[in-house]
Symmetry: C2
Subunit: 391 residues, 2 copies
């Protein structure tokens, strides 16, 4: 196990009606003027935004609103939010929504206290200061409710890039599984896929002797395999939603990823798909993960055999571990398809003729120099081969 | 899953030489005058206390020392520490040691800012304020490095009782697995037992539909089963020590215990043993756990069968699940004995003739009225029967 620091100071309020705590939690964590940042109309139509407003009013906290966050959140709205925070002297940003609203809110909090262009943070500059941010989660997926990460798409060039820093970790996150019951099945499935991807990205490590984090990751994958089909068959199942929601947070606050190298190449490869085709991130991952794993499997066959046996219940082929390893990857693929996820680039609306351009932006954009590093360092040729496996 | 709040804001610095960060971490978390609180001579002899002093000096932080914490830490030293903190205007307590030093330090931090008797907190009064506390852990066991809990023994009557509150959660904890390499094998085994007990206490729940936390608990138990024998065979194994150390923290910061009722009757029953006979808490638990589980198994046979199959690798006897459930309990017992743990009351130096007195203090002491509640509510007769199973 490698040396590490772990710090996850977010306060989690979990359960039925937890959004009623919004006002008292903003107060507890030092907010006095709030920007409520949210996405489309569903948070309004469901009455959630009204309940949040009522909770803030009951605590005597003035607020201003900025809606309109889209999936794969864009830089334009971030600039708007930064201006609004400064103009209204906002001192706390409350994101209401999924990973997109939360990531956009995090970008706003970092940008609002920074003299330069907030995109600097998405080009490698460490985030050291930010306004405090809280979240009310409406989809279990991105894990942004407990993470120090944010991913934003720069409209100029459609570059999708991430930033990180403890300063943008939510001070509190409100997790009410009932808020996710009205999600369309496709979005629920995208969320399940994203959570499983966060687990696999941590599982693919080159650090030896990491039994405790291996086992924790496997535990969360087993949870998703158990609860995923249950929630797809019965979207109102509060208990299945609850297990998925906590697993989604635990999958990404890094308690199961400490002390080990991680991969994240599947995310990098997928980001080009959702940036260019505006497909759902989870849908892009469903196509990406099996392709990447098939391509890199030989790098550590026993690791893929381990997850196949421990998580997917495959029989170990002791004479041919690669058979077991491959069976685990195919079990993942079949599971994602069973949730209704796409199978290939065509299902995502992507054109194989674009592969050279996808590879160029992936491996040459934003300061990269021809390869992406992770579990296996992937050259431009490797990345092209992986995209071709998705055809 | 039940509604819950989860808050674990401790900063963890993990790895080789992490104790060198003591000074900068005290500074980061607001300390300017430190009480270093520790146990016996081993922390001094090993040079650890000197390294901690050097780190504080390098950060320009004055300190005072209070050693002498014993296993099953006593109220007397807590009163002494409270006086010392007030006299020296200490604003940060740094515990160096295991659960005893940390629990004693937590009691001091709560008592130092309270006008009444600190024992009030161990008699049910919530802890709302405390000086900040940090820890440098030297044994993976109690999980106090990441928990809001403290257990102290009142010398007047030898009552062993717990207190809890977010105010006594450590601001930071330094976890260097190498510091645990010099532990005597018996203490290492006691620590492993204590960690497994924290997991079982959470596993025994009456809350249905808690797949995610079931799986997380199982993951940590599997880790202990893998790493325990490895570290007993090779005490210098840094990697095995690392996996155990992180599992010990995760077992008790409650990330795997949220949203579910928990048991804690095994701890209650054991506390009378270590309070009366001053045996190691882990050793007492090794005798207690199989007895309690055997006694309460019928309350939920399938739960015991589940842990038997998923954790201990038992074959499921579908016609007779109680056979599987019992096999899992026996596997636990055999595992603990294989680590060198005691088998019965005699091994602990306890006298079966004392059982009526143990039961009286357990079920009637400190405001209890004849029973202890948990996974199963246990009457005085039940508790006596359980102690008799340990003979």
């Amino acid at each position: 196990m490698d040396n590490f620091a772990f710090y996850s100071p977010t306060y989690f309020a979990f359960g039925h009606g937890a959004e009623a705590q919004a006002g008292s939690l903003v107060r507890r964590f030092g907010g006095s003027r709030v920007l409520i940042h949210y996405g489309g109309g569903s948070a309004v139509r469901s009455g959630l935004i009204d309940r949040v407003k009522s909770s803030l009013e009951a605590s005597g906290i003035p607020y201003t609103l900025l809606g309109g966050v889209k999936p794969n959140p864009r830089s334009g709205l971030v600039y708007e939010g930064i201006d609004l925070c400064r103009r209204e002297r906002v001192d706390f940003v409350l994101a209401v929504g999924g990973g997109s609203a939360i990531d956009s809110a995090k970008a706003i909090t970092a940008g609002a206290v920074y003299d330069g262009d907030f995109w600097d943070f998405y080009s490698g500059k460490p985030i050291e200061n930010a306004l405090p941010v809280g979240t009310i989660l409406t989809i279990a997926a991105a894990g942004s409710e407990g993470s120090p990460d944010s991913v934003i798409t720069l409209e100029d060039g459609m570059l999708k890039r991430g930033a990180t820093g403890d300063a943008i970790r939510p001070r509190f996150s409100i997790l009410n599984p009932a808020l996710t019951q009205t999600l369309p099945p496709y979005q629920t499935a995208c969320g399940i896929t994203d959570i499983m991807a966060h687990l696999y990205e941590r599982y693919l490590t080159n650090t030896p002797d990491v039994e405790v984090t291996d086992r924790l990751i496997e535990a969360l994958l087993l949870t998703m395999i158990h609860e995923g089909p249950r929630v797809m068959a019965d979207p109102d199942n509060y208990q299945a939603r609850s297990n998925i929601m906590w697993a989604g947070m635990m999958a990404h606050n890094n308690s199961c990823g400490v002390g080990r190298t991680q991969d994240w190449n599947s995310h990098n490869i997928e980001h080009e798909l959702s940036a260019k085709y505006d497909c759902a991130h989870g849908a892009g991952l469903a196509v990406t993960l099996p392709a990447v794993f098939t391509y890199v499997m030989e790098h550590d066959v026993m690791r893929f055999a381990q997850v196949a046996v421990r998580v997917w219940g495959c029989q170990m082929d002791f004479a041919h571990p690669e058979v077991t390893a491959r069976a685990g990857i195919e079990a993942l693929r079949a599971f994602l398809i069973s949730l209704g996820m796409p199978r290939n680039l065509a299902d995502l609306g992507a054109d194989p003729a674009d592969i050279p351009e996808l590879v160029r932006v992936l491996c040459r954009g934003n300061g990269r120099n021809g390869a992406i590093s992770g579990f296996v360092t992937l050259t431009e040729e490797d990345c092209a081969n992986i995209y071709r496996l998705m055809v």
